[in-house]
Subunit: 190 residues, 2 copies
DNA sequence: ACCGTAACACTAACGGTTAGTGTTTTGGAA
DNA sequence: TTCCAAAACACTAACCGTTAGTGTTACGGT
C-alpha cells in the first residue's frame, strides 16, 4: 500500500525541521543556534523536534544511513568475482571526495569547524563499522574470523577519517588501503 | 624545590573529589549520581569540581595519561634494536588484561555498563592515537610517511578496543596484531 | 610585612534533554 | 458512516551538565 496521509505529514514535519535547522546552522553557526530557536522557526514544539531527532547533532547528520548503506552495498552489490578490497577502496575514494576539496558542501565545512560535531561523527562511524563487519563476514570467498572482519571494518572507517584530515586526501586513501590490503591478506593465513 | 603547601592542598582536593565521585558512582551507578551530589559529598563547590575536571566523564578516567604514556614509552623506551610491533603488542596485551577477565576492576565494569562512558573513552583513545603516531614517527629505523604512522597508531588503538569486546581478548590481540604487522610491513614498501 | 596570584566559593543562569499531561489527527474496525 | 485506539503533536516544567560573573580567602615569593 502507498504511504498514507499520516506518514506523509510526519515525513513533511521531519523534513521541515531538518531544513530549518540546517539553514539556521549555516546562517549563524551550529553553536550559536539553540534547539528552542530551531523549534520555533520550524513552528513545532521542542518535544516534537526530539521525537523526530534523537539529539541536536542528529539534525546535521540527517541522512547518516546513506553512508552506512553505501559501504555495505559496496560489499554486497559489487560485480561478481570482484575482489573485496578494491571495491571498498573505490567507495572510500568517492566518500572522501564528497567532503573534501574546494567544492565540498558547506555542511561539511561546518562539521569540520565544530569539535562537537566531529566527535559525534566519529562515534557514528563506529556504529557503521559494525554493519560493515557484518556485511564482510557474510561475503563468500575465503572465510575470515569474526574478529578479522570487525578489524578490517574498523580499518576502513579509519581510512575514511584519516584521509579526510590529510593534506592530499585521495593519495592518503590509496596509501592507507595498501596497508589494509596487506592486513586483509594476512588475516587469511592465520 | 619540594611541592609547597598550596600544591599539596590542591592535589588533596582533587583527590578527594575523584575518590568521592568514584565511591558514589560504584555505590549507586554512574548515571544515578549527579554532579551537584558529588560536589556536596566532597564538600566543594560545583565550580571547584569543574576547575579540577573538565567533565563528569573525566572524573572516571582520572589517570588517563597513564594509558597514553604507556603506549608512547612502549615505543621510545623499548630495548635497543627490538622491533617496534612486538613491543606494542606486548603493551596492548597488558593493557587489555587490566580491564578484562574475572579480576577486572569494578571501575571497568562500570565503564562497560555505561554507553556514555564507553563513547567518551573511545574519543579519548583517539586523542591518544595522535601521541602514539608522533612517537612512531620519531622512531629510528625505516622511515615511514606521517600518514602511515597515524594509520598504524589508529590500528593499535583499534586492537585495544576490539580485543576488549572479544570473547577471548588475549587471543584477539594476537590475531589483530598479525594483521597490523602485515600493514606495517606494507607501509615500508610503497 | 606585603602583594599578586591561584584556589575556592556562591549565585544564577544557559542549553540540551526528558517526564508528565493533555489535545488533535488519522487509519481502520464496526 | 461512525467510532475507537493509536500516534503525532503541543505545552509546562523541570533535570542535568556546564559556565559566566563576582567575590573571598590563603599561600608563595619579594
Amino acid at each position: 500500500m502507498p504511504p498514507g496521509r499520516r506518514e506523509r505529514k510526519k515525513a513533511a514535519t521531519r523534513q521541515k525541521i531538518a531544513d530549518t535547522a540546517l539553514r539556521l546552522f549555516l546562517e549563524r553557526g551550529y553553536d550559536a543556534v539553540g534547539i528552542r530557536e530551531v523549534a520555533a522557526e520550524a513552528d513545532v514544539a521542542v518535544t516534537t523536534l526530539f521525537s523526530h531527532f534523537a539529539s541536536k547533532e542528529a539534525l546535521v547528520f540527517e541522512q547518516d544511513e546513506d553512508f552506512e548503506q553505501r559501504l555495505t552495498r559496496a560489499v554486497t552489490g559489487r560485480a561478481p568475482r570482484e575482489p573485496l578490497m578494491p571495491a571498498l577502496r573505490r567507495e572510500i575514494h568517492v566518500l572522501v571526495g564528497h567532503c573534501t576539496g574546494e567544492g565540498a558542501d558547506p555542511v561539511w565545512r561546518m562539521i569540520d569547524g565544530s569539535p562537537a560535531l566531529r566527535e559525534y561523527e566519529e562515534s557514528m562511524r563506529l556504529r557503521h563499522a559494525e554493519s560493515l563487519a557484518t556485511a564482510i563476514a557474510a561475503d563468500p570467498g575465503p572465510a575470515r574470523t569474526p574478529t578479522a572482519c570487525r578489524t578490517i571494518a574498523r580499518f576502513v572507517i579509519d581510512a575514511y577519517a584519516l584521509a579526510r584530515g590529510a593534506a592530499d586526501p585521495q593519495a592518503a586513501v590509496d596509501e592507507i588501503f595498501e596497508m589494509i590490503e596487506a592486513a586483509w591478506a594476512a588475516s587469511g593465513t592465520a
